[in-house]
């Protein structure tokens, strides 16, 4: 592609921001354009998730932007963390805009919590009632108590374990290795919500079961805050004083039953056909073996082994051995989620993982890897490869 990520900006990660989502979004956007070294008046495009409460109109008016010549939305939330980047890149390559900001603002702890069922349930006559039409928490699954994404992920995990004949103990070894490794990354990351809390394997195993086989530490953090990412043409990026990163490829790939929440797809032990990775790597002109550092959208830890296998970083069924032998850790074959991930840094719906990929390629990560390329995906539904400019 001929586009670059020119800047990243964010608020602090917190559990109580004390301010509106609109204000958080504005703070993140101002930080991102400052990081890019552009004037705020140069923003002529916005992209966002449909799940974001803060509209493009609200941003346009609050910031007093001179004009927008492009604004677009990608469906859902984190599913499109790379899809929103792909959309911005496409708009720039089509000449619709020259400087696009992708933003996400959410008071996901002090406001509406994604880990709670309240957002898709009402209480009527002493009874919990549902009228949601699409997962998560739709009317065909909520009556059985399947209400939040974290419970869907437990279904993915069980299908995966069964497919490869892994015991619950082996599952805990594998997922515990992810949680403990990522917490250690977060302990070195001054931005991370859990930077001061260490996590040992003993503590992981003592964590209470949330939805079998997943424990407390297999889950991401409900977080308040906002993040913004500036996308420009590669040509414009070269003129900026900031350290920019090239988008080698960014794409969406969904298939029947895979969205919204993967309830009705053909298989559950894998989340995307091999074709998705083949297309992405071909577009980027690199192979899985040439990727130096990876960010896997870890709403829960089970997403890590599944992404490793779905994109051919390890062979099918090989994730357990890779992860329990430190393959994702410092000095490992493929360091993963070096910011601590959504499990331990915080949850800006995937944008903070994109930001960590950018930091790695700029040489600014708290857990720096010697890297030329970085990979990012949410279960293949959207994926991206970035390269050092």
């Amino acid at each position: 592609m001929t586009t670059s990520i020119a800047g990243i900006g964010q608020t602090e990660f917190s559990v109580r921001s004390g301010r509106s989502e609109l204000q958080l979004a504005i703070e993140a956007i101002k930080a991102a354009v400052a990081d890019a070294g552009i004037d705020i008046d140069e923003i002529d495009g916005l992209v966002r998730y449909t799940w974001d409460n803060t509209t493009e109109a609200a941003i346009l008016n609050a910031l007093g932007l001179p004009r927008l010549t492009y604004y677009g939305e990608t469906e859902f939330g984190g599913v499109n963390c790379c899809g929103a980047i792909a959309q911005a890149c496409a708009a720039i390559e089509a000449g619709l805009a020259s400087c696009i900001v992708f933003y996400r603002a959410l008071n996901a702890r002090s406001g509406t919590r994604y880990g709670r069922g309240d957002r898709i349930l009402s209480e009527e006559n002493g009874q919990l009632v549902n009228r949601q039409m699409e997962p998560p928490g739709d009317v065909y699954s909520a009556p059985f108590g399947l209400l939040v994404p974290g419970q869907h992920h437990a279904l993915y995990a069980r299908a995966y374990l069964d497919h490869y004949g892994l015991s619950d103990d082996q599952c805990a070894e594998m997922l515990g290795a992810i949680a403990v490794t990522q917490r250690a990354y977060a302990n070195a990351n001054p931005r991370a919500l859990l930077r001061e809390r260490e996590l040992t394997m003993e503590q992981y195993l003592a964590g209470r079961i949330i939805s079998e086989p997943l424990r407390l530490y297999d889950y991401c953090l409900e977080t308040d805050g906002a993040m913004a990412i500036v996308i420009t043409s590669k040509e414009k990026a070269k003129s900026l004083r900031s350290r920019t990163v090239d988008v080698l490829a960014a794409q969406q790939y969904v298939h029947p039953g895979s969205v919204p929440m993967f309830l009705y797809a053909e298989d559950t032990h894998r989340l995307v056909p091999p074709e998705a990775g083949e297309i992405l790597f071909r577009r980027a002109g690199v192979s899985a073996q040439e990727i130096d550092v990876a960010m896997f959208y870890d709403a829960t830890s089970i997403m890590v082994p599944m992404a490793l296998e779905d994109f051919g970083f390890v062979e099918r069924g090989g994730a357990h051995d890779f992860l329990t032998s430190g393959g994702n850790g410092p000095g490992g074959r493929l360091p993963i989620n070096t910011h601590g991930g959504l499990l331990s840094e915080g949850y800006f719906h995937g944008l903070n993982s994109i930001a960590e990929a950018v930091r790695q390629l700029r040489g600014e990560s708290p857990n720096q890897v010697d890297c030329e390329t970085a990979f990012m995906t949410l279960r293949g539904a959207s994926s991206m490869i970035l390269g050092r400019a």
């Binding site: 069922g117 919990l128 279904l155 299908a159 009705y264």
Partner: protein
């Protein structure tokens, strides 16, 4: 008591009306007969527009399951633990189901299941699935 009830206006739809009458019916293509779930206006196999509702065998296999131990709503504190299942019907579609409250089974992916419709009142019933070989009295 069940965990969550569909809103009254939704219980007028065929899926719920058939369950209230005691049997699981699924949306099916009026041209090729393929079943689909959730219901929709078009057949994803032959692309014919047009639907009807037909009874299914009630046979299914277990695709995945989880025991939910953490209540995600204050009113669900006494409902946990409960078991949610992902099943594939003999007719093809997958659906979310569960193990009836109070019943216990040894679950394993691939188990053969059969439908057990449990009625809560005149308008609302749910299609649970239980292992064929382990049916409780």
């Amino acid at each position: 008591m069940n965990i969550v009830r569909p809103a009254d206006e939704l219980l007028d739809q065929p899926f719920w009306r058939h369950l209230a009458a005691g049997q699981l019916h699924l949306n099916a293509c009026e041209a090729c007969g393929a079943f689909r779930h959730p219901p929709g206006p078009c057949c994803p196999k032959c692309r014919h527009i047009g639907e009807h509702w037909a009874p299914v065998s009630g046979r299914a296999t277990l695709q995945s399951y989880t025991t939910v131990r953490h209540p995600v709503h204050d009113r669900l504190t006494s409902a946990v633990p409960y078991v949610v299942t992902l099943v594939r019907l003999a007719e093809g579609p997958r659906m979310i189901s569960g193990i009836p409250p109070g019943e216990r089974y040894d679950l394993k992916v691939g188990l053969e299941l059969e439908c057990k419709v449990i009625s809560y009142d005149a308008r609302f019933a749910l299609p649970f699935f239980v292992p064929v070989a382990q049916v409780q009295p």
